[in-house]
């Protein structure tokens, strides 16, 4: 009897603690701490939630990694090993994943992130941990301006830079009455704010006749198009992308919203968004994008061919970015001659340049923003698919924030 009671209690104790013990045991298993030969870099991105962008990005980066290692690696024969992790698409998850990359994988520095709020949280984490973070994709101006810190460098041209490119491109048309449509979150709001500011500089008598801010991913396209139409603008600045964009464009095409109007549109020329548009692609929108199918200069063409051969898919803008960042990592490590954070930062801040297939890219030390540019052109239809025409690569160096604005915004 006593024995049985004993058993009962032991069982209960075991069961009650089971969940806890199991999880703690899982956590406590010590990671392999061996500082092996390869140079490890932690890359976290939204591979699951924003796969349309992030998977081609990872493909591009893996291609670069293979080529670099085939040519002898980095830092005198060490292999470059990029550890890819899903960032969960929330700041909370991303900061934990960043911690895992640092403490368990012992990566030399961090790179990646897609959403702006995720990028900002990881940037602050890097600042706290005194670790280098290369924010590759987030477009928010804040990451190099108000929320900038000495450990964070951003690669892609920011919202401000891309908006400025579009404003320059439409300036000659002299459109005066503009309406704005943008998704209702930071990216959309700051693009709209940038546009308002920049268009008044470019066309002093320009006027914003109205704005629409549909919720991200939930546009009520009919109502939004009708609301814009009723404003009778001569030009429309569009920041919508993804599913919002396709539904907006089809609705606008049917209702004739874009006829005889100038449309400037951020990112719409990127294959990620042009492919779903297909036959619906509007004619003559002025966009930023990536006309990979028309690029002929040798190094870039070689990348495109290698990418298509390896992944049996056409490259996206993400592919170009991932590939470029792969080589940026190599050049950074080679020039610093070390994986030490301070040396890496000193290198990046000291007139650092790396070669991308689109040309040399520098880092401006003042706001730690790269001068990577974007392709600006017009949309057009080729058969049943969307494409870009009359495009040219705009070097980001011409579109950086004015130095005075950076100095006023950055808190360092």
């Amino acid at each position: 009897m006593y024995a049985r009671m004993q058993l009962r209690r032991t069982f209960l104790a075991t069961v009650a603690a089971a969940g806890l013990v199991a999880s703690v045991a899982g956590l406590a298993s010590a990671p392999a701490m061996a500082q092996g030969q390869p140079v490890k870099i932690g890359e976290l991105n939204s591979y699951s939630r924003f796969a349309a962008f992030a998977v081609p990005y990872r493909n591009g980066m893996q291609l670069a990694q293979e080529e670099i290692n085939a040519k002898g690696g980095v830092l005198g024969g060490r292999k470059l090993e990029i550890v890819f992790r899903d960032d969960g698409s929330t700041p909370g998850d991303a900061v934990r994943v960043a911690e895992e990359l640092l403490t368990r994988e012992n990566v030399s520095f961090l790179a990646g992130t897609f959403l702006s709020n995720v990028g900002l949280a990881v940037a602050d984490f890097a600042n706290q941990k005194k670790t280098l973070f290369i924010a590759t994709e987030p477009l928010t101006d804040a990451i190099t301006m108000g929320a900038g810190n000495r450990y964070t460098f951003r690669v892609r041209p920011s919202t401000y830079m891309q908006t400025k490119m579009l404003v320059e491109a439409v300036k000659a048309k002299g459109v005066k009455k503009w309406a704005i449509v943008a998704p209702n979150y930071e990216y959309g709001q700051s693009a709209a704010a940038n546009f308002k500011k920049l268009i008044k500089v470019a066309t002093p008598d320009a006027e914003i006749v109205g704005e629409q801010f549909p919720a991200l991913g939930k546009i009520d396209a009919g109502a939004t198009v009708a609301a814009l139409e009723s404003l009778k603008p001569d030009g429309i600045f569009n920041v919508l992308f993804g599913a919002d964009l396709t539904t907006f464009v089809r609705e606008g095409n049917t209702r004739g919203l874009f006829e005889k109007r100038t449309v400037a549109s951020l990112l719409t020329g990127e294959p990620e968004y042009l492919i779903p548009l297909g036959e619906e692609t509007p004619e003559g929108w002025i966009v930023t994008g990536y006309p990979w199918d028309q690029i002929t200069d040798a190094p870039h063409k070689a990348f495109i061919d290698a990418y298509r051969a390896k992944f049996n898919d056409t490259p996206r803008l993400g592919s170009f970015l991932g590939y470029s960042v792969g080589y940026m990592m190599r050049d950074l490590l080679e020039k610093a001659g070390s994986t030490d954070t301070e040396k890496l930062i000193a290198t990046l801040k000291g007139d650092f340049k790396f070669t991308s297939v689109a040309g040399p890219v520098a880092i401006r030390a003042l706001d730690q923003q790269s001068t990577m540019g974007a392709w600006v052109g017009e949309t057009t239809k080729q058969g049943k698919a969307g494409a870009m025409k009359n495009w040219k690569y705009e070097d980001g160096a011409k579109y950086l924030f004015p130095e005075a604005e950076v100095k006023a915004a950055r808190k360092e």
């Binding site: 069961v15 699951s48 368990r104 919720a215 009520d220 609301a227 009723s230």
Partner: protein, 647 residues
Amino acid sequence: MTAKRIVAAKRDHHLSDLSFLLVQALNGLASASSLFIIAAGLTIVFGVTRIVNFAHGSFYMLGAYFGVTLIPRLLDVSSSFPMFLAGVLAAALGVGLIGVAMELVLLRRIYKVPELFQLLATFGVVLAVQDLVLKIWGPLDILGPRAPGLRGAVDILGHRFPSYELFLIAMGPLVLGALWLLMHKTRFGVLVRAATQDREMVGALGVNQALLFTGALFLGAALAGLGGALQTPKLAANPHMDISVIAEAFVVTVVGGMGSVPGAFLAALLIAELQAFGILIFPKITLVLVFLLMALVLVVRPWGLMGRPEAGQARVVLPEGIVRLQRFGRAEHVAVAAAGVILLALPLVGDAYAIKVAIEVLAFALAAFSLNFLIGVGGIVSFGHAAYFGLGAYAAGLMVTRLGLPMEPALIAAPVIAGLGAALFGFFVVRLTGIYLAMLTLAFAQIVYAVAFQWVEVTGGDNGVVGVWPSRWAGGRTTYYYLALVVVAAAVVLLRRGIYAPFGYTLRAARDSAVRADAIGIDVRTHRWLAFTIAGAAAGLAGGLFAFSKGSIDPTLISIPMSVDFLVMTLLGGVQTVVGPLVGAAAFHSIRDLLMPLTDYWRLLLGLAIIAIVLAFPRGIVGGALLLRSRLGWDDAVARARARTPA
């Protein structure tokens, strides 16, 4: 010109143009039809089965993907409108069959466990379907072809209006009519209505419930699929559309009155027209409008516009939640001591990352425990518990970053502010019951979310605020872990005392029979209000701790997925046990952390893990363990208690 004058000028401009107003009303009607078709399915499924079907959004998404796959192939055969329609109907039928499969394989096995648990199962389906869609159709959005014959636009008072949208406007009333016929002229429909009014009575009269449920699931899923397939000429099928539609579908259903198809129609009309005209006056209102409306409707009409109080409500039902409180025996004390030793020793054996994850588990455990204080003890099912977690996090974060105060006062402010918020919202919440109560908590959470999202100057908008770090003395990882451990343990012990105190017994009495509790002189509403406030404060404390462990605050802390995570943790551990939510939080967070680095398809694995746990432990992990103990005859008292609850 000031902002106000610009808005006024714009409004005048719009309002002066009558033909535009008419077109905008038509735009609203087209959206209303789409919204109604989806919500009708949800309301039928809920009416009959009482399942809060999160997977309804997944059905909608599948309908769209089936549509963009089937319709182009059919149009290749012959590009005609009947072919298009055939494709739409085939997609709806296909999704209906998937609904049947979900009922047969998953839901049927768990009808007898607490209703809430089925919600957990459907959430597992949501996660799994998200990744399956990604796997099958790829990540790129797919735009369907335009409908033949309705490609263009017609001229309405000088405005071009898409003819397909006229077709959609007609579809809403058409589906409403068809459903009315089905509900009033067929035996199946009569049974559906009967079950919606009084499910127990229908069962008692010998109606084959299994068949009825399968039928309801088929109809509900097919309607969602129809809604999705009808959208394909307008909206590209994309892997995010499940989430974007589900909240709105719930709002329509609740505003109309759960189970009422005409109510859903009315609500869809109201919401779509408000949306169409609202954006003319406040372009940024898109985020919050529907939830404001729902909160308003529920405060004024607790059962929605056309819903009725449940017929069986006065009947005494077997309670869901903590039925029987057990005091700790020696075995339990041993378990607690063991857990305590493990937690205390963790920093000695685990690396920095393990401690980081453990801190998060601690914060989530407190949040889940406080949620079960509401669900398990008070019978108050909150779908918006993240509001208070988030209020706490924001209170703490903003005090540190904006006011420059140190961590200590911020950590005190977190539960105070969250408690105040909970007291304010709770005042309205506790007047309702059941699903209406749950949806009102969701509405309030979305309002808090929208404020955090839109009030950029103060909250930093969706970028949030960074730089929320602990005071220097607590800055070390290990120190902060012990701080969190002490704070969480103290809060859990306090809440647990509340459960075991007369206050907890009173709450449970009110939960089991509000009428009887009222009759013996208990002020039910005030007790529930107090419980809501206390639980909110505890969640706020958890939020404060979480914010300092992350170094940042942002609206995802208040979002619907966060609220759902807390629900999942609570249910996973078991709502019928006191310690269940703690184990559930540890298990859920550990599983997620384990799966995330493994594969891009971690949502699929997480969803499958949840479904497996639901099937294996239909009472949650701790509930399952206790049941197993009693099955083995190791605890007669527990066995006796179980025998009184439905097996």
